[in-house]
């Protein structure tokens, strides 16, 4: 497989405002929203990043787009450092209404990225706009509409068209269907899949909806408080979840048989020790090593790894 995007030991640090006490005692006032994550993305695949809010799934995408700076580690595109200004990376946001300018028509919204990234003349731009609208299942009648005149599904289509305008290689879709109604969601999911096939796009799809991830994604990465806990082909992970967190998460899909550690404390990135395993407080399988150091990734299946000492079989 050829790798299009590589995250190598990436750290994104958020500084929190400390108080006098924390300054005097030298306690840290900040945390790593993305904590030493290594991940490769193959050309043409749809990689799902799943996790609860605060897990760093959006932050890692924003780091790749240069919207957050990394504290350490490297993000490379096809072996070269990221170049964020050539339009080869694009993002689709969760809320289509607030990601479009309410005072610009659809055509104007699509025209801006075209002008910024290409030196086409006016006629070509008009043609391209029509083509983009057709690509996302709209037509030239929508050119002069304003965002408030469109429904949620149509707006998200326009947002996708705008992302496609610069002929990107990689699209980051941040919860792109979670604000949409159920009857419209299927349309957008099918659209993303067909666009991937048509343009050989690479899509990084951030979601907390496990059903949606199952349908759309070739591989899935499970994140928890900045750490990547499990990575593997979606079908394999769903059939054989290894990390205790993944098991708990995927267990919620089973209506009759699920166990949730509801009352246990979750990890608090500001006050808890960051060295032990993040999942320590909720995990039913805690061992001595877990309290010392967050585990590395261990292979658990074909192209499938989990960050858990349960799968450290080297001594056997």
């Amino acid at each position: 497989m050829n790798t299009i995007l590589e995250f190598d030991d990436v750290v994104v640090h958020f500084q929190a405002r400390g108080n006098l006490l924390s300054t005097l005692s030298g306690r840290k006032s900040g945390f790593n929203a993305v904590d030493h994550v290594s991940l490769t993305v193959d050309k043409g695949e749809i990689l799902g990043i799943a996790g609860e809010s605060g897990s760093g799934k959006t932050t890692i995408c924003k780091a790749a787009l240069g919207l957050h700076s990394t504290a350490s580690g490297a993000i490379t595109q096809e072996g070269k450092p990221l170049s964020i200004n050539n339009g080869s990376l694009q993002m689709i946001f969760q809320d289509p209404l607030s990601s479009l300018n309410p005072r610009q028509t659809v055509a104007k919204s699509l025209e801006t990225p075209l002008k910024l990234h290409k030196d086409d003349n006016k006629e070509n731009i008009d043609e391209t706009i029509d083509k983009l609208l057709n690509d996302v299942g709209l037509n030239e009648k929508f050119r002069n509409r304003f965002p408030h005149e469109l429904s949620g599904g149509q707006l998200q289509r326009v947002a996708i068209a705008r992302a496609l305008a610069t002929k990107p290689k990689i699209i980051f879709a941040d919860e792109a269907v979670s604000k949409l109604d159920v009857s419209v969601r299927a349309q957008i999911l099918n659209l993303l899949k067909s666009l991937r096939d048509k343009y050989n796009l690479t899509i990084i799809f951030v979601t907390h909806d496990l059903h949606v991830a199952h349908f759309l994604c070739d591989r899935i990465a499970i994140m928890y408080f900045g750490k990547l806990l499990e990575l593997g082909p979606t079908k394999e992970v769903y059939a054989n979840p290894c990390h205790p967190y993944t098991r708990e998460l995927l267990g919620t899909l089973d209506r009759d048989n699920h166990v949730i550690a509801s009352t246990r404390d979750i990890f608090n990135p500001l006050s808890d020790d960051v060295r032990p395993c993040r999942y320590l407080n909720r995990c039913p399988h805690v061992m001595d090593e877990c309290r010392k150091l967050h585990p590395d990734h261990y292979p658990v299946g074909p192209e499938h790894t989990a960050a858990c000492y349960l799968f450290d079989n080297e001594d056997d």
């Binding site: 009857s183 299927a186 059903h211 919620t252």
Partner: protein, 326 residues
Amino acid sequence: MKMLDVKGLNISFALDSSSINICSDVSFSLAQGKVLGLIGESGSGKTITCKAILDLLPENAEVEAKEISFKGQNLLGLNQKEFDAMRGTAMAMIFQDPVGSFNPVKTIGWHFLHAGKRRNLKQYGRGRIFDDAEAALKEVEIANPREALKKYPHQLSGGMLQRCLIALVLFLKPSLIVADEPTTNLDNLVERQIVDIFDKLRNKIDASFIFITHDMTIAEQISDEIAVMYAGQIVEHGNTADIIDNPHHPYTRALINTARELESDVDVLTEISGDITSGLGVHDKCRFGPRCPLHSAECDKPIELRNIGNHGQVRCIKAESFEGHV
């Protein structure tokens, strides 16, 4: 006993020169201790219907109904003061956004004291009210209720806050609880916790629930009956198992089909073309018509909600063509 009986509810909003119809001919009843799942997408009128029952709509709303009765009492004739006495104590609403439901500069305990005034618990004093509050918080699986009462909303996570909000409503001991998408803004795990809590509560207390959601799988777990709304009308209403196993309206069928497909291995999802805007404000024909695979000329007339055998009610003249297969 019938807890709630709604007949022929019409809601419109007055604009400058015209008015726009939001809900038309909404009728349902709810027995004591039962849970009604109200399903529909944004714009289908499910929240508006419930707000109309609790008289929470803004002033430009025009509410007309043949009957809205609660425990046999007609709500339509009540004045503002009489309604105030009932709201919160006899019927209560849990909103979608727990953060916005709490006063950010007051502790959780303050909210319980404030709500205690509603229940006329003033004579009990703080101690007794906090004891009751703790019991309610335990009910929703808050591990350390005494601590939680001292916390401010921003110190609690979204799931914790939603549970505190549910506890606050339980504390008031209403007999009708409307929960408006209480899990929509939450993560899978937390969503599952909240649904489990509701599932436990409905067997424990004898209140009736209206559970508004757009998620068919949640409605399936939690409700005794399901009413599906589309563009301001109830299009199908019946027992949960009946609706899930054998949906009769093409819209319900499509919703269930999409949920099923996401769980199974398919390459392309079956789409419902178009969106709900095509059905809004339509009066003289089927509102789902423009999106319906079965649509034909006969559908271009007002469609009534009708009983189908012992299945429940369906607003579709072609419902029988689905009989027996999902």
